[in-house]
């Protein structure tokens, strides 16, 4: 019982990806990204849809979606702010950046602001160690996925202001999670 469907454009995108690999499973990671961009997060229903699309077992899709840190298994804000907290950034003030954002946004790490605009998380090294401190901002619909480097408090204020003005496509309607249960879940 699949209630979700990919748009025709997404279906074409996935079909095109499939031609680049010897089998369909190899498209699983890219397909999960496309699904996340379309539906906002990787719900159990999204897992079933991706499994059906690629002819693989839902339990496999679930394993993969859980293994990788960039798939959100729960709803997130319009923008996910991912502050690098690993050593090189820590040496150059990552903790102050996190404290500052927590204060500005009135959230703790891992939380989403009350208006649903921002989710704040700490992540590991993003290969931007020479321009620390830094964060990456990913829009829920992937319309933005950018590094912001050499951060200062002033720069963070500017970035937040820009993002507040920038719209993000609302995630395609998701029905409440009711009937599905996944093996081993």
């Amino acid at each position: 019982m699949n209630v979700l469907e990919f748009s025709e454009a997404r279906k074409a995108e996935i079909a095109d990806l499939v031609t680049k690999y010897p089998n369909k499973q190899a498209v699983l990671l890219p397909a999960l990204h496309l699904a996340q961009a379309e539906f906002g997060y990787v719900s159990d229903e999204v897992i079933h849809l991706v499994a059906k699309t690629l002819d693989v077992a839902p339990s496999l899709v679930q394993e993969v979606a859980t293994f990788y840190s960039l798939y959100n298994r729960k709803p997130v804000g319009d923008y996910i702010i991912q502050v690098c907290q690993t050593l090189s950034c820590a040496l150059r003030g990552a903790e102050s950046v996190i404290r500052y954002l927590e204060g500005k946004l009135n959230v703790h790490l891992g939380e989403t602001t009350a208006d649903g605009k921002f989710t704040l998380v700490a992540v590991e090294c993003l290969a931007s160690c020479g321009t620390a401190p830094m964060f990456q901002v990913t829009a829920r619909d992937y319309s933005l996925n950018a590094y912001y480097e050499n951060l200062t408090e002033k720069r963070i204020d500017e970035i937040l202001d820009e993002l507040r003005k920038r719209p993000v496509r609302q995630a395609a309607q998701m029905t409440p999670l009711t009937t599905h249960s996944l093996g081993g879940h």
Partner: protein, 434 residues
Amino acid sequence: MADAPRILLDFLDDDRSWTLESYRKRGGYKALEKALKMEPVQIMEEVKASGLRGRGGAGFPTGMKWSFLAKNDRPKYLVCNADEGEPGTFKDRLLLERDPHKLIEGMIISAFSLGSKKSYVYLRHEFELGFQRMEQAVNEAEAAGLLGDNILGTGFSHHLVNHRGAGAYICGEETGLIESLEGKKGQPRNKPPFPAIQGVFNDPTVVNNVESLAVVPWLINNGGAAYKAVGTEKSPGTKLFSVSGHVKKPGVYEVPLGYPLMDLIDKECGGMLDGMSLKCCIPGGSSVPVLTAEECARANLDYESMNALGTFLGSGGVIVIGEGTCVVDMLANLSRFYAHESCGQCTPCRDGTNWIHKVVDRIEKGGGRRQDLADLLDLSDNIMGKTICALGDAAAMPVIAFIQKYRHEFEEHIEKGRCPYKPEYAVAHAAAGR
């Protein structure tokens, strides 16, 4: 480094260096024309003669790796490792964003030598700009007849696919990468069989780092011997070093192997931040043992000199640390990283990295016990050499080195029941919250 050749960073002055036009101006794709007229085995001989060693971390000779590729009728794959996740390392990102055609030319030449019709570039998903630039460069190269079917009318065809990951350090390990490319969890495989015999999609595969492959066009243009003439006898050529931490000018620098570490810090990077003196340095990415300031003073940046000091050149991620930084805090940060990134399939690594993080974090927060240091060394010992992949060792080595070289600082934390360093110097180790 005025006298050493710029083999990789010849694009820094060009503000549109990622375009085919810019790359052609710098002599781009001349090596491909030349290579396609050579015998595939001749290309491999040049790579062997150059003495090039893999720049992904392990330093395995590239030409030798190629020669292990199974000789049978199966399809052959070339896979470029662009997952760059080793803390302190950001050189591959620079190449992907600023000079994608160099990598692509290197890959086509390598693929021709290996008899491969298909290659994948495995990019970490976070590299949005790098991915866009690579896609654009692939399109340009295809439109110009440099990539795709019947390249430059020679009858050789090769297709290159940019493939994106989904956030997992372990996918930088080559068999974890292969699993991930197949659409699975990125859990490293038991070896043998090695990828050269049974790699991606069960076919013979060569996995090489971005920097290793980007060197190949220069080797074809100038010959392996010219490369061998740079650097040291056993560590030939130049290498990219990513420098981060407490220096005035962090960044990516290209220097000949054998270059003194202190020159890199003082000359290329303009020295330490104002008012700071050097405390220690992690020279090869976060996974290698730390060097004290005194050791740094006699360290040269080549594989052998680093080994002589009990550490490794690794990925060339040089993390420079000033006095006033707490080493326990640093180790708490790194041990959190490894606990988070362990893929979980070997018990010593999965449980050991979590225990190590718990204990180091407790010491830093003032709850250390007398027994902790012995326990940490035991835990590390139980990981070393007892796991499927090298992440286990990478997690354990820093623990051993930090405790051996800075035992008194750990003891001071335990005796005082607090971190003796001023809070403003504290390293962040906020709870991961994804």
